[in-house]
Structures are given as structure tokens and as C-alpha cells.
């Protein structure tokens, strides 16, 4: 049994989601190899080589791989797929983009967004936005899987695998990278943050999100938003937590002015502790919150900032 994990990274650092995929891979038993596809991504491969239980790291570099182009990733993964029983990648927008291509070429059905590995051929995955959990058994020869990073522990360091350089596939003429607009922020990434504070339609406008940013900076938290706040144009789409946005599971999730539509709950209900601040005491968010505060957020949030200051933040 050997399992290939495709690393998630930004060409500089190994993304934590990779560690979750390695934990999922460990449940298969057998060797774990990691493929780092990128550009000038040596540091990522070196970090992957230190992961616990990893016995080999392959590094392939090219411009299209650096931009995570699906067509390039497909040919690269297919070129090494031969000997593996399972191929795993985090269920990020990168993994979701190229993994189904790999599966189709191998003539196997992809198993998307798994939340548990029951055995080497049986997995649990959410359907209907997490309103039901489906256990499936795959009859395919190779399992091609994307892993929901928030539901697996992050594998630690402790390994010392060799890094082997492999050749990148020839560039595909029919697709090319044009540009990228990534949100710049000194705060932690939504998916990786230990604390997340999110605002909803109740925030009223984009400027008011600065109240949440102040608290986020005190706590080292990431700022998120509900779909309603994104659709209203308060904040960019990559802030969105929910069924159609990001799925997060931090230690502490603070929902401010968020009513708690099913859509949103699907993206945060696995958080360890949930706090809801909302002036409507009937809001559905309170039914999942560990601590609910029925209050006007425009009073409560500045007060929270002050109280945190008193508490030493």
C-alpha cells in the first residue's frame, strides 16, 4: 500500500491543509509520499520532507505548476500516479480544480471532501451542505480523494525524507495564467486561524468591519463574513464562510450580526466554541452558539474590544 499526497502551498510555505491530508493518508497504512508541484518551491519540499511518517518527497517545478494550473497538475500527477493505491489532496480550490481531472483520466470516481477514513476503501463525506453525512465504499482500483482539512488533525514534524526532483510536464498550449489578485493581509488565513471573527448583514456596511478588524488584531484572529455580507458588497468574496465559501473550524468563532442561515452554519458549525452577538434573540445562530449575547453589535463590539484590553489583549 502506498499513498500519494499532493501538497498545498504558495511556493514559499507549506500550507497546514497538507498536514491534515497526511493524517488522512496515515489511516490507509503503508508508505506516504508527497508531491510538491510549484515554482521556486524548494523550501516547501524541504518542509514536506520533515513531516512525520513521510518517506519520500517529489518536487516538480515549472511556471504553470507555480500558478497551480489544472491542466499542468493533471499531467504531472498522471505521470507519477502508476504505483499508488490512493492519491489525496486537500479540498482547496486548487485540489477541487485538478483532482477530478486526474480521476477522470484514471477512469475512477472522485471522492470529494472526505471528513473521515473508515478503511482503505470506505470514506465519509458531507452531502447537502453537511446536512447529511454519506459513507461510501469505492470499488475503483485507485482512490482519488480530496480531504476536508478542518476535520483531520494536523500531522506534526519528525520525518527526514529525501527530496527527489522530477521533471515537470511540457506546458499546455491551450491554457495560460493571466493574473492574480490575492487579498493582502497580515492576519492569519481564514482556514488556518485559531480564532475567527465574522460579520453579517447586521454590520450595515463595509466600513463597520473595521470594528471587527480591531478585535481580530488584538486576538490574532482572521476576519470572515456571511454570504449576505459578501453579496451586499461589504467585503470581498474570499471572506465568505459557509457552504459556498470557506469551511472553517477554529478554536473560537465569533459571529457578529449574523442570523445563522443554513448556508452559513454549514461553514462553521464544527468550530470548538461559537459565540454569537445579535440583537434578534430569535436568530437561528443562537441555536448553535455556546455563548450567545443578545445585544446591539454597535455597542457590544466596542465594549468587547475594551474588555479584551482589560484582559490583557
Amino acid at each position: 500500500m502506498s499513498v500519494l499526497v499532493i501538497a498545498e502551498h504558495d511556493n514559499k510555505t507549506l500550507n497546514e491543509a497538507t498536514r491534515a491530508a497526511v493524517t488522512a493518508a496515515k489511516k490507509f497504512g503503508g508508505d506516504i509520499h508527497i508531491l510538491v508541484a510549484g515554482q521556486d518551491a524548494r523550501a516547501v519540499a524541504d518542509a514536506a520532507a520533515k513531516l512525520d511518517n513521510v518517506s519520500k518527497v517529489m518536487l516538480a517545478e515549472s511556471e504553470p505548476l507555480g500558478h497551480k494550473m489544472a491542466e499542468a497538475l493533471e499531467s504531472l500527477v498522471l505521470s507519477v500516479a502508476g504505483s499508488y493505491d490512493a492519491i489525496l489532496a486537500p479540498a482547496s480550490t486548487v485540489g477541487k480544480n485538478f483532482m477530478p481531472r486526474v480521476a477522470a483520466k484514471l477512469d475512477v470516481m472522485i471522492i470529494s471532501d472526505i471528513t473521515a477514513v473508515e478503511s482503505a476503501d470506505t470514506f465519509v463525506r458531507p452531502i447537502y451542505a453537511g446536512n447529511a453525512m454519506m459513507t461510501v465504499k469505492s470499488s475503483d482500483k485507485v482512490k482519488v480523494i480530496t480531504v476536508r482539512p478542518t476535520t483531520f488533525e494536523k500531522a506534526g514534524d519528525g520525518g527526514s525524507a529525501n527530496v527527489e526532483t522530477i521533471s515537470a510536464p511540457d506546458a499546455v498550449a491551450t491554457s495560460s495564467f493571466v493574473s492574480e489578485e490575492l487579498s493582502k493581509s497580515d492576519r492569519p488565513e481564514l482556514g488556518a486561524a485559531k480564532i475567527v471573527i465574522s460579520g453579517g448583514r447586521g454590520m450595515g456596511n463595509g466600513e463597520n468591519f473595521s470594528m471587527l478588524e480591531k478585535i481580530a488584531d488584538k486576538l490574532g484572529a482572521a476576519v470572515g463574513a456571511s454570504r449576505a455580507a459578501v453579496d451586499a458588497g461589504f467585503v470581498p468574496n474570499d471572506y465568505q464562510v459557509g457552504q459556498t465559501g470557506k469551511v472553517v473550524a477554529p478554536e473560537l468563532y465569533i459571529a457578529v450580526g449574523i442570523s445563522g442561515a443554513i448556508q452559513h452554519l454549514a461553514g462553521m458549525k464544527d468550530s470548538k466554541v461559537i459565540v454569537a452577538i445579535n440583537k434578534d434573540e430569535e436568530a437561528p445562530i443562537f441555536s448553535v452558539a455556546d455563548y450567545g449575547l443578545v445585544a446591539d453589535l454597535f455597542k457590544a463590539v466596542p465594549e468587547l474590544e475594551e474588555e479584551l484590553g482589560k484582559a490583557g489583549y
Binding site: E180, G292, A300
Partner: protein, 249 residues
């Protein structure tokens, strides 16, 4: 230019689904069905391309039970030109859907296949990518903006951390994200007109595709329930509880 838009009939997004007591699936009896919201966005985008004079014909295809015909009619009422209904009562996995679509693409020769990024029932997010791989076509997935250039498309994609723009040569696959557009409602005259638009009746056998599922569903269960907690009276009580009781501060 010709656009093929595959659409799926799913449980309406406003319905809260219930797991069957015997854990064999979710209860679909007497539940409102609608076009998958991401597919609706795909239909709308195709119509907008036609309205801008970029496309001449929009063909809508759905693979599913008799009721899927309604979903095709909805797309025709929005403005698509004709439909193909591949009738089957079986649950068809995205891999088999992609294989049928590959055959349909061979017959119809569209320049673009425009699909929703995922269906809100199985949440797989794979059909477009799988079809692209089978055809050897480039893809622009999770699109929030699609612009036509000479012989290619410029697709802005919603990715973790922001937006990415790629250029893909035609023929190509595009899958839609939520903010690509806001789908229109069909007007009554257009609903009437759609009744006369042709729908080709097909079966999976016509395409010679093996539909046997690769994933056997062992169980469909309720997710673990989260209990609501307590209400706090003040912000200071909240901070103190987070610190001393929950231990997260």
C-alpha cells in the same frame, strides 16, 4: 458559436433535507425540486453571451428521471434554444455524466460547455473538470467573470485568498461560481414559447455509457447535532466565560 449547458434537477435549495430513518438516503418524497442554482447561473451566462451576439445557439442537456424535463423547460423559458433529455432513474455519478457529455459533445460540437461548479445535492464539484479531462480541453472553473477574446476566453476564478484570471483556448469548459451573474426569471410569454421548443429524448444506452456506480453508498446519516449553549448578560461576562470556562482566550 454554440454553447452546451448541462443542468441538474435537485432538491430546492430552500428545503431542509431529512435523512431517512433507515439511513439509506435522504427523503425525496414530496420535496420541492428545482434547477441546481449553479446550473441556473450557467444558463443565464450562456443567454447573456447570446444576447451580446457572442453565441448563436444554446443547447441544454439534463440526465435524470422524467421530472428533469421540467428543468430543461425552465432553461428553455429563460432563453435556451433546444433541449436534450437523457432519461434514467438511476443515480448517475459525475464520472458517468461526464462520459455521456463527452459523447454529446462529439455530436453537437459546442465551442463552450458551461456548467455549474457543483450540484447542491451530492456537493461533488467534479463533472466539469472530469469532462474537460476526457475531452482534453482546458478549463476555467469557479468563474466569477467570463470575457470572450479572439478564439479564447478570459476567465476570472474565485480561489482561496482571492481571484485568479486564466486564458483558455476554445473549445473549453467553464464552471460557474455564485457571483458570476444573477439569473433571470422566465416571463409568462417565454414560458409559453418554451413549450414549443424541441427536446430530444435519449437514453444512456444511446451513448453506450456504463452507468454502474463506482461508489457504493453504505449509509447516509444525520450529522452530529450541536447543542445550543447559554445566553450571557454582558460583554464582560462573555469575556470572563471565554477565559475561565471555555479556555479559548
Amino acid at each position: 458559436m454554440k454553447i452546451l449547458v448541462p443542468v441538474k434537477r435537485v432538491v430546492d435549495y430552500n428545503v431542509k433535507v431529512r435523512v431517512k430513518p433507515d439511513q439509506t438516503g435522504v427523503d425525496l418524497a414530496n420535496v420541492k425540486m428545482s434547477m441546481n442554482p449553479f446550473c441556473e447561473i450557467a444558463v443565464e451566462e450562456a443567454i447573456r453571451m447570446k444576447e451580446k451576439g457572442l453565441a448563436e445557439e444554446i443547447v441544454v442537456i439534463s440526465i435524470g428521471p422524467a421530472g428533469a424535463q421540467e428543468t430543461i423547460r425552465t432553461a428553455l423559458a429563460m432563453g435556451a434554444d433546444r433541449g436534450i433529455h437523457v432519461t434514467t432513474d438511476a443515480a448517475v455519478e459525475p464520472l458517468a455524466v461526464a462520459k455521456i457529455l463527452e459523447k454529446v459533445v462529439g455530436e453537437e460540437k459546442p465551442d463552450i460547455v458551461l456548467l455549474g461548479k457543483q450540484a447542491i445535492d451530492d456537493d461533488t464539484n467534479a463533472t466539469g473538470q472530469m469532462l474537460a479531462a476526457l475531452l482534453g480541453w482546458p478549463q476555467g472553473t469557479f468563474a466569477s467573470k467570463v470575457e470572450k477574446a479572439d478564439g479564447s476566453l478570459k476567465v476570472t476564478r474565485e480561489v482561496d485568498g482571492g481571484l485568479q484570471t486564466v486564458a483558455i483556448a476554445l473549445p473549453a469548459i467553464v464552471t460557474t461560481d455564485l457571483r458570476l451573474n444573477e439569473p433571470r426569471y422566465a416571463s409568462l410569454p417565454n414560458i409559453m414559447k418554451a413549450k414549443r421548443k424541441p427536446i430530444d429524448a435519449k437514453t444512456p444506452e444511446d451513448y453506450g455509457v456504463d452507468l454502474s456506480p463506482r461508489l457504493e453508498v453504505l449509509k447516509v446519516a444525520e450529522p452530529p447535532k450541536r447543542q445550543g449553549g447559554v445566553k450571557v448578560e454582558s460583554v464582560s461576562e462573555l469575556v470572563s466565560k471565554l477565559k475561565n470556562e471555555a479556555g479559548v482566550l
